[in-house]
Amino acid sequence: MSDHAKSPVKSYFAVWGALLLGTYLTYKAAFIELGAFNSAVALIIATTKALLVALFFMHLKGASEKLLKLVVISTIFFLFILMALSMADYATRWWS
C-alpha cells in the first residue's frame, strides 16, 4: 500500500511548522490590545491548529469511511448543542 503512496513526510513537517507558527502568533497576539477581538483571534488560531492536527496527523483528510465522518460530524454537533443551549440560558439572563 505504501509502495504507491507518495511520501507524506514533507506534509508532516509543513503541518508541524504551521502549528509552531500558530503557537507563536497566538502568543504574540495576546499581548496586543484588540479589545473583544483578542478572544476571537485566539480561538480562530486554536481552531485552525486543531483542524491541521485532525486533518493531517489524524488522517481525516482522505478518509473515505462514511461511518467515521458521521462520528466526527456528530461529535462537533453535540458539542455545539452543549455550548449553545447552555449559553442560551447563561448569556441571556440579564435580558429582562
Partner: protein, 238 residues
C-alpha cells in the same frame, strides 16, 4: 482467538493470510478500520467529557470576566507556550513513527517513539514547575488560597475578587490536571507500543496499534491547543 484449535482451514487461501488478522474480520483493511473507528468513538466521548469543562469555563469567564483575566495573568505564559511547542513536536514524532512502520524503517519507528515519550515527559516536567509556582504563590484553591489586591487588567483602580479568582484556579487545576492525567495514560500506552515495536511486531502491513495510539495522542494535543489560549493568554495586553 478462543477457538483457534477448532479453526481448521477449509480452503488453501485461509492459512496464508497475515497472522495478525483475526478470524471475524474479512480483510486486514476491515480490521484496521474497525480498530480506528473504535478509537474515534472513544474520542467522541472524550470531547463531551472535556466539553463540559470548557462550557463551565465559558460561563464563569463571562460572569467574572476581569477576575479571570487577573488570575490568568499570574500564570507563566512562557512555560505554557513552551509546553504547546513540546506537544506539537511530540505529535510530529508520532506520525513519523507510523511512517517508519509503513516503510519498515525500524530505526525511525523506535527513535520516534522514544522521542515522543521524552517530549511527553518534558511536558509533565514543565507542568510540574508551573504547579510548584502556583503552590508557592498560594494560588491553589482551598484553605490557604490567597489572591489579595491583584488589579484587574485594564482597570488598575479595581482589585480582583479572590473568590472569583479561586474559581479560575479551580478550573485551571481541574482542566490541566485532567489533561496531564491523559498524558500519563498516553505515556503508558506508548511504553507498550515501544515494547511491541522493539519486539518487531509492527510491519508495513500491520501497525494498527501505532495508528490507534497515535489518534489518542493527537487528541490530547488538540485539547491542549485550546487550553493554552483560554487559560494562559487571556487579558495579557497592557
Amino acid at each position: 482467538m478462543l477457538d483457534s484449535q477448532a479453526a481448521v482451514p477449509t480452503s488453501s487461501h485461509e492459512d496464508i493470510h497475515s497472522p495478525a488478522l483475526l478470524h471475524h474480520f474479512a480483510t486486514e483493511e476491515q480490521q484496521r478500520n474497525a480498530s480506528s473507528f473504535g478509537m474515534w468513538i472513544f474520542l467522541a466521548t472524550e470531547v463531551m467529557f472535556f466539553g463540559g469543562l470548557f462550557c463551565s469555563y465559558l460561563i464563569y469567564r463571562l460572569w467574572y470576566f476581569g477576575d479571570f483575566g487577573a488570575a490568568s495573568k499570574s500564570i507563566d505564559a512562557t512555560l505554557g507556550a513552551t509546553n504547546t511547542a513540546v506537544l506539537i513536536c511530540s505529535s510530529l514524532t508520532v506520525v513519523l513513527a507510523i511512517w517508519g512502520a509503513q516503510i519498515a524503517n525500524r530505526k525511525l519507528m523506535i527513535g520516534s517513539l522514544i522521542l515522543t515519550m521524552l517530549f511527553g515527559l518534558a511536558f509533565l516536567g514543565i507542568k510540574g514547575k508551573e504547579y510548584k509556582d502556583k503552590f508557592e504563590e498560594h494560588h491553589v484553591p482551598g484553605a490557604s488560597f490567597s489572591f489579595e489586591k491583584v488589579p484587574i487588567p485594564g482597570h488598575p483602580d479595581q482589585y480582583a475578587n479572590p473568590r472569583h479568582a479561586q474559581i479560575f484556579f479551580a478550573l485551571y487545576f481541574i482542566m490541566t490536571g485532567l489533561h496531564a492525567l491523559h498524558m500519563v495514560v498516553g505515556l503508558g500506552i506508548f511504553t507498550w507500543l515501544l515494547t511491541m515495536a522493539w519486539k518487531g511486531r509492527f510491519t508495513p502491513e500491520y501497525h494498527t496499534p501505532l495508528e490507534v495510539g497515535g489518534l489518542y495522542w493527537h487528541f490530547v494535543d488538540i485539547v491542549w491547543i485550546y487550553l493554552f489560549p483560554l487559560l494562559y493568554l487571556i487579558d495579557r495586553h497592557p
